[in-house]
Symmetry: C2
Subunit: 495 residues, 2 copies
């Protein structure tokens, strides 16, 4: 077994770092003040010496993909909500720009500085305050690593309604700030549906206290929802309460080989019909993804033959016999209908883990193939792969170009990575804005789960009506009138 | 069988109407203009004669409970989003106050006028625009009646992830504006999690177009979430896209008799353990509720004996054999543990419907017992009934007083109705603010699912921190600077 994505932070596979400001040469630094010694002294007075870093900041300056980097000279790591408030209050008074940072595992350059913004790291706010074993609710601080949270609530028979490859590094606060998607949306719904309460610090240092453990609470506007997915541009999430599903008693998995994406869709539909409430993941990958994972990372496919597409379905339920019977019936129907020509069910937890690791290691495997132009779009299911075919077509004359695609079938969320041997501006100009125009034409989303960050901010108009963008700006002005919170991110800066 | 709540609109059981302004004598009409003939002409020009009503307006002026009434002289029913926009633009320019109104089935006086506000009825915006049978998504207008929506998507094998007693009258737009709860939250989560897109008209006539059918879409702030639960105070929801769960193949139900609320909790926990993913309702009622439904409405209990409490559990799944086996195992464990002393499983759809009708007819049955002071609070599950006991205690010397309680166990949502023979100001002074203070002390919600409306607006501080209330006011000012949208509702007006 090869470690999954969460370890890759330590060993970047690709070193094509481009400074945010170089990636977008037309992007100018905002009219923020520069940090003085007096500011550093002030911050040290708030968080103490151990909460201040001014050296060896590469890890904070550069994104996980090693594609965007800023040049902050100051990282502040508060230990309490009051310290976060005091830090932000000073930043706001002094017009110092701030990037809130969780595990820094984002894929759109949203969590690292572009210029010299101060990094406000949540890494020391990592307390799991309380687990209610009866109600299935966890209260914790924003800097808790997802895997740690998952392990801890697992001891009480619960699971976190969110799972993704970066689980070993990402913070729950960052998951909320970016509204992370991942593997379990088909089962537990979008993350925002599981958030019961939240405490947030506003840029002026006000603490917005929306902590609550109530499963139903219709007392006024649900303001926390605005912060979920706001990517640190409105304030800093410091505490959260989450509703937890019970840990499943049985988890089963099957991997099927298909000849076409239409067959993947047929497999998906049969699995929804047969498996109903126990479906917990519906993933696909194309042949380039599978061969890259096999050849580059040495993770063997459990299927004997190669296929154009692979469909992976997971079930999680409370009764092993019932779940196995449902999955077996499903596989039978799949083969009867001819929409898969090959398939295997995991016979043990290890085999299931191995199958899922094939899916989870696609991103690092493709990165080793060449320079990846990353897209994460949602589309009506029938168009998920036709867009990939179109991109292959527009790149047909670019030497050495390839496209690998995979994703979450149930949500129409396709991750596709056009790849060239090196970064190629011509290839990029063929892909963009073509991809965004097509997604817009199909009424899809140009960012299904990764968010806008720096990289996609200027493309917001392809997924949002001008009326919505104007309202987003109005709301940004309400929460952050001085614009110090994560500038250049989420909202377009080129107009 | 007796018709359930949705029919009661036509036959009010109680006629203690109190004008909103009489209920709160200190509430003064806002400085809005009064409607002139010129205004009516202008509105007629926008929506046509058939969209204007100036007579026989009781139904629009009075709430479903017949406890709050205003005295509007004008009801406008637009047929399109453009007409809604033109109407609101004129109201905003002329400073005319507006109440958006759906099915007018709310329980907190939120959907009817308090003084002479114009009623903007969504009743003619009732088109089900599109059902995507593959993706399981419905697009419709706000004025579609929940039951009609449910029937229509049922033809395609889907169900609406929301169900409540008022299904035959309430509109889906009102369900969203009030973030209706109901019976299925334990299974499908809160309604806001199923909303994919929404179009809203702002008070100034701007159309905020957030229509989308994407299951994942992380492109900026999720502004629609602010309108969900805003009770018409920020704008008017005109269109919505909802994600639909598959219709279950098998629905089963059991009713258990318990000697104490602790036993109800034990039954609930066992049912979650044994039934896991197929649980679709976990309801309780106390003896007063059961006897009222039996005696007043003639709906017989299927249990031979009377009990202090009743626990009703419903399952919805894709495999009848599996589901029955799970439910039977559950009931066995319940009896083994001794937490229920009696119980019955529904052997047919009719029996299941009858069991559920016992639960759904509690509200009308209790109303016939006397004057109901209605509360809908959420609490940690272990405190759900102890608060009811406390209220019984404080009312012990009030002649003829009773308290009936029922609700949704999984969400800690208890509906309890103190009852006196007639409205009794002394009783009310014993109950309030006592109930709100207790709920606040227990960190519960003073409105689990009914919302704030007119009746609870001034109690917001018991569930929301001052920082949250201040931010709500700021947001209200952004969306509705002239304050014309549903004044006196949701936000406190007494400070």
């Amino acid at each position: 077994m090869i470690p999954v994505r969460h370890c890759l932070k330590l060993v970047p596979l690709c070193s094509q770092i481009r400074h945010g400001s170089r990636m977008f040469p037309q992007l100018k630094r905002g009219s923020f003040n520069r940090i003085t010694d007096e500011d550093v002294n002030r911050f040290t007075g708030i968080v103490g010496e151990t909460g201040i870093k001014t050296e060896e900041l590469d890890h904070y300056n550069t994104d996980w993909l090693n594609t965007v980097s800023g040049f902050t000279e100051l990282v502040i790591s508060p230990k309490s909500v009051e310290e976060v408030a005091a830090v932000l209050r000073h930043c706001n008074e002094r017009r110092l720009a701030v990037v809130p940072q969780g595990g820094n595992t984002g894929l759109v350059g949203g969590s690292n500085p572009v210029f010299d913004e101060i990094v406000l790291s949540l890494e020391r706010l990592n307390n799991i305050s309380h687990i209610d074993p009866y109600a299935g609710i966890v209260e914790c601080e924003a800097g808790v690593i997802l895997q740690n949270l998952s392990d801890k609530v697992g001891e009480h028979g619960y699971t976190v309604p969110l799972d993704l490859g970066a689980r070993g590094s990402c913070f729950i606060g960052g998951n909320l700030a970016t509204h992370a998607g991942g593997l379990r949306v088909v089962r537990y719904g979008q993350l925002r549906g599981s958030v019961l309460g939240m405490r947030v610090v506003l840029p002026d240092g006000q603490i917005l206290d929306g902590r609550s453990n109530m499963r139903k609470d219709n007392t006024g506007y649900d303001i926390k929802q605005l912060f979920i997915g706001s990517e640190g541009t409105l304030g800093v999430i410091t505490d959260v309460s989450l509703l937890l599903p019970q840990s499943p008693v049985s988890v089963n998995m099957a991997l099927l080989g298909c000849d076409s994406f239409d067959d993947v869709i047929k497999c998906y539909r049969l699995s929804r019909q047969c498996l109903g409430e126990i479906v917990s993941a519906c993933e696909f990958m194309d042949s380039l993804c599978m061969t890259s994972v096999n050849d580059i990372l040495g993770l063997a496919s459990p299927l004997e033959n190669s296929h154009k597409f692979y469909y992976l379905v997971e079930t999680s339920g409370m009764n092993m016999d019932h779940d196995m019977e449902k999955l077996e019936t499903c596989i039978e129907k799949v083969f009867e209908s001819g929409c898969a020509t090959d398939g295997v069910m995991a016979a043990s937890k290890d085999q299931a883990r191995h199958m899922m690791s094939l899916r989870e290691n696609i991103a690092p495997a493709l990165k080793a193939v060449g320079f990846n132009y990353k897209y994460d779009v949602s589309l009506p299911i029938q168009h998920m792969y036709s867009l990939v075919e179109q991109v292959k077509h527009v790149l047909r004359d670019v030497p050495g170009s390839k496209v690998g695609a995979y994703g979450h079938v149930a949500e129409g969320d396709v991750h596709f990575n056009p790849i060239t041997p090196q970064f190629d501006p011509l290839a990029l100009s063929l892909i963009e804005p073509f991809v965004y125009e097509e997604v817009s034409r199909l009424k899809g989303s140009i960012s299904a789960e990764h968010g806008m960050g720096l990289k996609k901010a200027n493309y917001l108009r392809y997924s949002k009506d001008p009326s919505m963008i104007a309202m987003m700006r109005s709301l940004k002005d309400v929460f952050d009138p001085n614009g110090i919170m994560n500038p250049y991110k989420l909202l377009p800066w080129n107009d």
